[in-house]
């Protein structure tokens, strides 16, 4: 979509949806309202040929990007070569515009954790992640965008806060950032930091894409935390963060809504994409007004 100021500048942001089997019919029927589709790479590693053919057919109709969940890049332990090779084969087959993975560890000492987990934020995991990203780039042929993850626990043994740790990895590895705004919101809420200050410190020129999602409150030992569960609608705060981001990022943004269950009718998700477009438009307008004021 195209946002226009009083001047000549235009920025074409895109807004799309995560592909899930349950949403397939809704997505395919509304490609005119979905600019881009993000597919979970791991779902296709061992998928039957017909499913991979369907993905190729989808990529002929719209822009497709791949999103990985199981590499465990943010670890002092080297990423498994066979997983990188599977990612490489899939990228070759689908030719996505980009691929992405999380700054998480997902296994350790032979234990498969089964989900994304925040590692200790230390020099060892910064250097391990950078080394894993270099291996990923070498095997797959391109570096992934790396995503900040949500965590319910303040990772023990950490020497850095989250933003310094993410920046430490990005200083060593030539990769872009997939900024998940609900993950940022959840961590800021759970661990008491200012999400706008965090946004100001993100290297804006390195942001390649944005994730939106929702979550719910959970409680233990009398403490409440916000869980990023992808089962709820995007909260207003996250749209406000998106507008803040659009007010400062100079290049076009790709925004993906993630929903992993408790699926509402597709129209509800399409309305959330529209709200994301409105937030982007609001931020872009502020950016253009600022630029014009500075130029005057």
């Amino acid at each position: 979509m195209k946002f226009r100021s009083a001047g000549e500048n235009t920025i074409r942001d895109r807004v799309g949806l995560g592909w899930r089997r349950e949403l397939a019919v809704g997505i395919l029927s509304h490609l005119d309202r979905i600019d881009i589709v993000e597919v979970i790479a791991d779902d296709l590693f061992d998928a039957p040929r017909r499913e991979r053919r369907a993905l190729r057919a989808l990529s002929a109709q719209t822009t497709v990007v791949l999103h990985g969940v199981s590499l465990g890049l943010a670890s002092s332990v080297p990423v498994e070569t066979k997983l990188l090779e599977k990612t490489a084969r899939l990228c070759e087959e689908v030719n996505p515009e980009y691929w992405s993975e999380h700054l998480a560890f997902v296994r350790g000492g032979g234990v498969e954790i089964g989900h994304l987990t925040a590692p200790p934020r230390t020099d060892a995991t910064i250097e391990g992640a950078a080394s894993n990203l270099e291996r990923a780039r070498a095997v797959v042929g391109s570096a992934p965008l790396v995503e900040n993850i949500a965590t319910l626990i303040d990772p023990p043994g950490s020497d850095y806060d989250e933003i310094d740790w993410v920046k430490g990895i990005m200083d060593l590895a030539p990769c872009g950032l997939l900024l998940d705004l609900h993950n940022l919101h959840a961590n800021a809420t759970n661990f008491g930091y200012d999400e706008i200050e965090f946004l100001k410190r993100v290297p804006a020129e390195r942001i390649g894409a944005v994730h939106l999602a929702g979550g719910k409150w959970v409680e233990a030992l009398g403490e409440r935390r916000l869980l990023d569960d992808h089962l709820h609608d995007v909260p207003d705060t996250v749209y406000r963060l998106l507008a803040e981001l659009a007010a400062v990022v100079p290049h076009p943004l790709t925004v993906i809504l993630e929903r992993d269950g408790d699926y509402p009718p597709i129209e509800v998700l399409l309305r959330q994409l529209d709200r994301a477009r409105e937030a982007l438009a609001e931020g872009r307008l502020r950016q253009f007004e600022r630029i014009e004021k500075e130029a005057a």
Binding site: G110, L152, R225
Partner: protein, 73 residues
């Protein structure tokens, strides 16, 4: 190597109930048994206990979905 040992230790207490219970009863003893250094042991003694319990709960649900009723190690 110690960084990898710490990740392995965390993976274990996040997903294995018995390991987590032993750890919560004696953080220093269990961390020392795993070969962690003094700095890591001290960090684990101050672990965010609510966060640990919530993480374990959340992972248990996800692992049931991924691996079936009896989660893989």
């Amino acid at each position: 190597m110690s960084a990898a040992r710490l990740e392995a230790f965390l993976a274990k207490i996040y997903v294995e109930e018995d390991s987590r219970e032993r750890f919560l009863l004696d953080p220093r003893g269990e961390a020392a048994k795993a070969g962690l250094n003094e700095r890591e042991i001290a960090a684990l003694e101050k672990i965010d206990r609510a966060g640990l319990i919530l993480t374990a709960r959340s992972l248990q649900k996800k692992r049931r979905r991924l691996f079936g009723k009896k989660p893989k190690g």
